[in-house]
C-alpha cells in the first residue's frame, strides 16, 4: 500500500506553506523529509495525517485507526507514568487486557524502556520521552507511521535506538514518513525529500539525488560570489550551477572542485532558489 499527497497546496492566510507538493510513502520503507524552519515539513506531515485541509491537491491516507502520528511536541502526558501513557492511547484503539499487556511489554523491551515503565513521563530524559512517544504512535500497529522530528535534540545512543525502532517498523511493512534536521538520517532513508519554503527542491534515493545534482561545488578560502558560498570547517564551499547566463555559472580556472555531500547539495539548491527566485 502506498500513501501519498499529490499536487498539494496549503495556505495559511497569505503564506503558502506547501506549494504543489507530491510525495509518496510506500509500505515497508522510510521516507525522510528534510528542511529548515518554515520549510513546510510539519505541514506536509499533518497533511498526510489528515490533520489539515488542502487548498488544492489530494491525500491518500489510511483511516484514523490505521494511522500513527508523533507530533513534534513531546506527545506524552507529563503527569502519567510510561505505562499509563501507553495504556491510555492503546485504550483509544480498543486494545486492552492480555493483548495490551503483551504488546506493551514487547514495545518497552524493544525501546529499552522496561526499567522506566513506572516513571512519570515528566521524569524521563529527552531521548526516553521521544521513545515513549514513538511507542504511543505505533502501539496499534498502524499502516502509516508519521514522525515529526523524532530525533531532534536527543542523545546519540537514543538516536540509534530510535532509528532501529523506525527501521523495525519499516521492515515489518509499515509506511514511515519522518521529518528530521539531520542529513545523515536523511541519507539513510530509502527516499528523501528536501523541502524549502514549501516546495520540493529535490527528492529520491540519496544515490539518485547525488546523481541528479547539476553544477560544480568548489572549495575556497575566499569566495568569488559571497551569496553562493557557505562555511565548511576552515574553508568555504561555493556553488556554480552551470548553464545559466545570469550569474557566472562556471568556476574560474584553477579552482578546486569537491564531491558534494548531501549537506552541500541541500545548501547549494537552497541558495540557487534564493538567488534566482525574485522575492
Amino acid at each position: 500500500m502506498t500513501y501519498s499527497v499529490r499536487s498539494a497546496t496549503v495556505r495559511f492566510g497569505s503564506t503558502v506553506a506547501l506549494d504543489d507538493v507530491t510525495v509518496e510513502v510506500p509500505g515497508g520503507s522510510v521516507v525522510a523529509v528534510v528542511g529548515g524552519d518554515g520549510a513546510g515539513k510539519s505541514t506536509l506531515l499533518r497533511a498526510l495525517a489528515g490533520e489539515l485541509a488542502l487548498d488544492a491537491g489530494t491525500v491518500e491516507t489510511p483511516p484514523k485507526q490505521r494511522l500513527g502520528y508523533l507530533p513534534a511536541s513531546s506527545g506524552s502526558w507529563a503527569a502519567l507514568t510510561v505505562t499509563q501513557n501507553i495504556d491510555f492511547v492503546a485504550g483509544i484503539y480498543g486494545l486492552a487486557g492480555d493483548e495490551l499487556a503483551a504488546r506493551r511489554a514487547e514495545l518497552l523491551d524493544r525501546a529499552a524502556l522496561t526499567p522506566a515503565a513506572g516513571r512519570l513521563a515528566a521524569q524521563l530524559s529527552g531521548g526516553m520521552r521521544r521513545k515513549l512517544g514513538f511507542i504511543m504512535a505505533i502501539v496499534h500497529r498502524p499502516a502509516l507511521l508519521i514522525l515529526d522530528e523524532p530525533t531532534t535534540g536527543i542523545d546519540p545512543v537514543s538516536r540509534i535506538d530510535l532509528w532501529r525502532l523506525v527501521s523495525e517498523a519499516a521492515a515489518s511493512g509499515t509506511a514511515v514518513l519522518m521529518s528530521t534536521t539531520y542529513l545523515d538520517e536523511a541519507e539513510r532513508a530509502a527516499h528523501l525529500v528536501v523541502l524549502d519554503s514549501g516546495r520540493v527542491l529535490v527528492q529520491g534515493s540519496y544515490d539518485r539525488v547525488r546523481a541528479s545534482f547539476a553544477g560544480v561545488v568548489t572549495q575556497t578560502g575566499r569566495p568569488v560570489r559571497a551569496d553562493w558560498a557557505w562555511r565548511r570547517g576552515r574553508v568555504l564551499h561555493e556553488y556554480w550551477p552551470g548553464g545559466d547566463s545570469s550569474t557566472p555559472a562556471n568556476p574560474p580556472a584553477g579552482s578546486t572542485a569537491v564531491a558534494p555531500d548531501l549537506e552541500d547539495i541541500v545548501i547549494a539548491l537552497s541558495l540557487a532558489r534564493r538567488n534566482t527566485v525574485p522575492s
Binding site: 535534540g153 527501521s167 519499516a170 521492515a171 562555511r231 565548511r232 576552515r234 541541500v266
Partner: protein
Amino acid sequence: MTGVLLRAARVTRRFGAFTAVDDVSMQVQPGEVVGLLGANGAGKTTLIRMLLGLIAVTSGRVDLLGGPPDRERRRRLGYVPQGLGLYGDLTVRENLSFSAGAYGTAVPVLPPALAPHADVLVRALPLGAQRQVAFLAALAHSPQVLVLDEPTSGVDALARAALWDTIRAQAEQGAGVLVTTHYMQEAQQCDRLLLMSGGRLVARGSEADIIGSTTAVAVRTEDWARAFAALNAAGAPVMLEGRAIRVADADPAGLAEVLRAAGIEASLQPVPATIEERMLMLSRQARAS
C-alpha cells in the same frame, strides 16, 4: 595574544561515590575550535561547569584565561547553553539589552535577517532565529573564550552554515572555542575533537582518530526485511540504510551465523563506524563492565 585560554589539568569531580569526571586533561588555544563529544552522562556538562567555574573540582586544576575561573575572568567568556539562556517573554531587543547590560557593553546591532524581529517575543521566533539571538547576546562583549553547547541542534543546513560562519569568525579573530556536540555534522566543523565516555577522555584528534578502528557492518541482501527481523531478534543494534542493513558494534562472523541459521543469503562488509556508533559502542562497553 598567545598562551592557553582554557585548561583542565588532571581534573576529577566526584558527586558522593559517583565519579562524573575522572582525571581529564585538555586545553583550548587561541584561534582553534575544539569539539567535545560524548553521550549523555559521559561527563561533558560537568567538565564544562568546572571550566566555567560554576562548580569546584574535587582534584586537579582548572585555568580560564591564565587563572582560576572567577567572576572577573568570566567577563571575557561567552557561553551559549543548549537551552539558549534567553527570556522567552522578552523581545529580541529586550533580551539583547539585558545581556549587554549585564556585561556592560553596547547593545549589538541586529543583522538584516533579525532586524524585522526586533520587537518580537523570543518564544515566538523559529528555533534557528532564537539561536542567532543567543549567539549575538553571547558575542556582544567580544569574548576571548566561547563555550557552546550543541550550537546548531535542530536548525537547517543553511542556518547551520551561517552559525558556523559566526563561530569561525570568532576563532579567526583569536578566540578559543569549545563546542560540545554528539553530532557528526557539528564535529566535522571542528579543528580537533575530544571524546569522553564514563567521565574519562578516551580519544582525541581528528574524526578518524576518534572513530579509531571501530567498524560497523553493512549487510546487503535481496531479502532485507527478513534479514532485518533475524538480526534484530538476535539483539544486534541494527538499522536500515536505504535498502541495506547496517549493524553497529558487531562482529561480522556472528551476524553471518545468524543469517545462515535463518536461511538468508547476504553479503557482509565491515565499514567505518560513525561517531554515534563509536559512542554507542563505548556506552555498551560501560554498561557491560
